[in-house]
Subunit: 137 residues, 2 copies
DNA sequence: CTGACTGCAAACGTTTTGCACGGTA
DNA sequence: TACCGTGCAAAACGTTTGCAGTCAG
């Protein structure tokens, strides 16, 4: 069970019911975009504003409570922050899968080939999920 | 030397001076965004419209003459399409480097772990280029 | 009590669209 | 000539901002 208030305090953020609910929703719905989040929030906060959702997402991105995943040809989705990992997006149904892939070797290769000092990497695969692969196109 | 008209015809696109110039500019300026492209086009096409730039980029993306690179916290940039490759973006000066990295092993790992059938991958590193690393912050 | 957050409305930047005209094939 | 592309203006879209009122600490 996630201690959401504690998480927010740890990052020196004010604990508001809206923020708690955003984190709560993202803990059970990884990879949803702003509109989906907004729609879900309406259940408990009928008068919540989209601006509040954006402001809180941005605040929590800066505090690294959340992270953002950029999806090709779709709106960014959000997830609770955790160690670096890759994503696979189904081009048919847009389902997103997380994948713990060790990029150590690739990092090394990239650093030696580029002479850059690297901080982070974003690896997103596109493909078809098993369900969409098996169904006729 | 690039046969631009031939490239366009091959993809069954009408050859217009604007399209030729867009491809021409991208052949010497990889990784520029819409605004930069628009500004460069103004030299030879003082009355070109931004809508035309967008329409042509979209058309040529669909025909796979161009490809789009999504840059975190910055506008998308464009390049002439070629084999899959990775990118490194400098977080200080935004310079973009292309890197031919073999993702075969990673693809295999991702496929077996996910059961997805994968089509493509986007790998973008963030870091500091040698110039920005050496200069005082 | 003070500062931070919320909700509303308006503003903003980017991209797309509709349309009349002009160019390509 | 028939169709497609261009340029303009307006619309659409996603996100941010300013502000007055409210809530958290």
């Amino acid at each position: 069970m996630l201690n959401i208030a504690g998480l927010l305090k740890e990052k020196k953020l004010t604990v508001t019911p809206q923020r708690v609910e955003i984190v709560n929703l993202l803990s059970t719905n990884r990879h949803i975009n702003v509109d989906e989040l907004y729609a879900l929030l309406h259940t408990n906060f009928p008068s919540i504003s989209l601006a509040t959702v954006y402001k809180n997402i941005n605040t929590m991105l800066e505090s690294e409570i959340l992270s953002e995943v950029q999806i090709f040809n779709a709106k960014n989705v959000y997830e609770l922050a955790k160690e670096e990992h890759s994503h696979i997006v189904c081009t048919s149904c847009n389902e997103i899968l997380e994948l713990p892939i060790d990029l150590q070797v690739i990092y090394k290769e990239a650093e030696s080939k580029s002479a850059y000092s690297l901080k982070s990497a974003s690896l997103v695969f596109s493909g078809k999920c098993p369900r969409c692969s098996s169904s006729k196109v």
